[in-house]
Symmetry: C2
Subunit: 338 residues, 2 copies
DNA sequence: GTCTGGCACTCGCTGCGGGTGAGTGCCAGA
DNA sequence: TCTGGCACTCACCCGCAGCGAGTGCCAGAC
């Protein structure tokens, strides 16, 4: 176990390095922080910290920089979450309150988060798995062609074409629409399959095939669309990354275009509380020199989706975590209201 | 007017510079191209080309690089559009044929274009102005709350909430739905306003307010949604930009996040044929060191939206133009089929 | 007139060498 | 256990010379 002062030294190193982007030496440390000891002592502490793997030197005679392990300790033990200032909070709320629909909420959130943290922001659309059905609409486009529109309580709308095995009358269509809605409106996606199970039986033989086709498409939409969508923003902030540019930034840009990677990234987030993945803790190789701060959001205690930011491991963790948490909270509120 | 050979020299310079990214000198030129003249002659030609502003030297004793004006001449007079190879065409078609809905078409297009050109791709969603109404659906969510769903012939679906001034019965709703659809289905957006003008008059006084509110929202949706959406991809290709990285790339990333800027960019595209904007020809300052190749696409001779790529001015114009044109053509086909 | 070969010149790039300074490790003493 | 001192390392910053690709100009050939 590291002594109190050594932890303090680590904290100072992290803070200075995050601020200056340059390896920090013992002398500079004692000058900028009131550690109450001499540079020589700090040097000894640094030697220990290096031995334990919390810091490293780029070259033999240079200052130290924190390792992933060092940041981990910093985040876990040394840093709190820095709450936002009141004006900042107010600004968030005002900005998000202006949103007109779900796309707009997500779009505003992503811009807000990117701006506050000066990093790349990733926001997941509210997941459908926890959602309930608000309405299902069926339209006849041609005698044997229907359009199915699903509307969820989170304001999302999904549509699918359905090619029917046989022509389907207006009357049957209205009938199916009414019965289907009667069964599923207000119910959770996960409960829907068993609720509609015996619906085809109550139709005439000639329509039964079509009803089954429609139901199949409907269930497929529910299932497929659990595949969540994302919005990202603030990629211009990647330019603040570091000196050795193209090499670091390229895999990050590639990762950001791979929705699958990002979803997996967010998917690993704890249900409760914030998750910080530092450097090599990220499963995806391209993100090995980045940290990801993410958190779930939702209304009324339930997590409906996640959001977060991606930035260099050398980031202001307390500030970033504060911004991420605050934004998640307000987005949850907005969703609850609408 | 420049002599034939001088044009040939310019073409050679552009081709070499695009290939090597390095200023090209007279000797290297004569070695790589069969110009039939000596380096000294080429030097004289280069002096003239420089005088006229088609090429420039970065330093006094270095090779020449094309200027924006030089690229312009190259594109206008010297370069054709390089058609894609048959396997490439087949690959495009196969890839796009797998799309299941509009989002998927646009998503695949953007990825395809980015991959083919190795540049940043921008694809605009099919515009609503040229679209026709396929169906309008009205749902009752609460006694005085409706949801309006608009479905277009391009497969787009838009929804809006409508808060009614007074409760609206199921019968009236069905009535409105039927009459509204009767009037607008198959019609162009631009024609809709006058078609529904006198609709409220045919309703009872008590419902008239609601009908007017619904129509207002409907027209608003048509108008607002002409505001087009975009999808971009291939941003990782920005890393191939050049040596002086962060400075060049940052404004480009910023521009790419500004939908407004991009829309304006594409908006300037000629109705017919391909547009190439080189360097400073781009109105937006951040894109001064990029070129934009864009073209409209659509089905049956009508342009419903635009797509293009953004890359360094030093790009392979014939190849890029070929890819952009080919992709636009196939997307048009896909849209026409569905 | 036009093209060519020759020649002197420019100037960015590379590599070498020394000086500087921040930073380190170690050690003896408080 | 902390501190001050000391020798050492090594990245970084010049300044300098040599190299070479490239240029402009000019006299002569076709």
């Amino acid at each position: 176990m590291l002594s109190e002062r050594r932890l303090e030294v680590l904290r100072a190193i992290v803070q200075d390095y995050v601020g200056t982007e340059e390896p920090v030496g013992s002398k500079a440390l004692t000058e900028r922080h009131r550690l109450g000891v001499s540079p020589a002592t700090v040097r000894n502490d640094m030697a220990v910290l290096e031995e334990e793997g919390y810091i490293a030197q780029p070259h033999t005679s240079a200052g130290r920089i924190p390792t992933d392990k060092g940041y981990r300790l910093f985040v876990d033990k040394l840093a709190g979450v820095k709450p936002l200032s009141t004006p900042e909070r107010r600004a968030i709320q005002n900005f998000l309150d202006g949103a007109v629909d779900l796309d707009d909420v997500v779009g505003r959130t992503v811009r807000l988060l990117a701006q506050l943290t000066r990093q790349v922001a990733v926001v997941q659309y509210p997941s459908l798995t926890r959602s309930t059905v608000r309405h299902v609409e069926l339209l006849s486009l041609a005698p044997a062609r229907l359009m199915l529109v699903l509307i969820t309580d989170t304001g999302r709308v999904e549509q699918r074409m359905v090619d029917c095995p046989a022509p389907f009358g207006e009357q049957s269509l209205a009938d199916l629409r009414a019965r289907l809605n009667g069964k599923v409106v207000g119910r959770r996606f996960t409960d829907v399959p068993q609720l509609v199970q015996d619906l085809p039986e109550s139709f005439d033989a000639e329509d039964r095939g079509t009803v089954q086709t429609v139901l199949a498409t409907f269930l497929e939409t529910l299932a497929e669309d659990t595949e969540e969508r994302l919005m990202i923003g603030g990629t211009a902030n990647l330019t603040r990354f570091g000196h050795d540019f193209p090499l670091t930034i390229r895999p990050v840009l590639e990762a950001l275009e791979e929705q699958v990677v990002l979803l997996k990234l967010l998917g690993e987030v704890n249900e409760s509380g914030m998750t910080v993945r530092i450097g090599h803790e990220n499963a995806y190789e391209g993100l090995n020199s980045t940290s990801v701060v993410s958190v779930g959001y939702g209304s009324g205690g339930e997590t409906v989706a996640k959001l977060g930011v991606v930035g260099p491991t050398r980031m202001d963790y307390p500030g970033t975590m504060g911004a991420v948490r605050a934004v998640a909270r307000y987005v949850g509120q907005i969703l609850a209201e609408s």
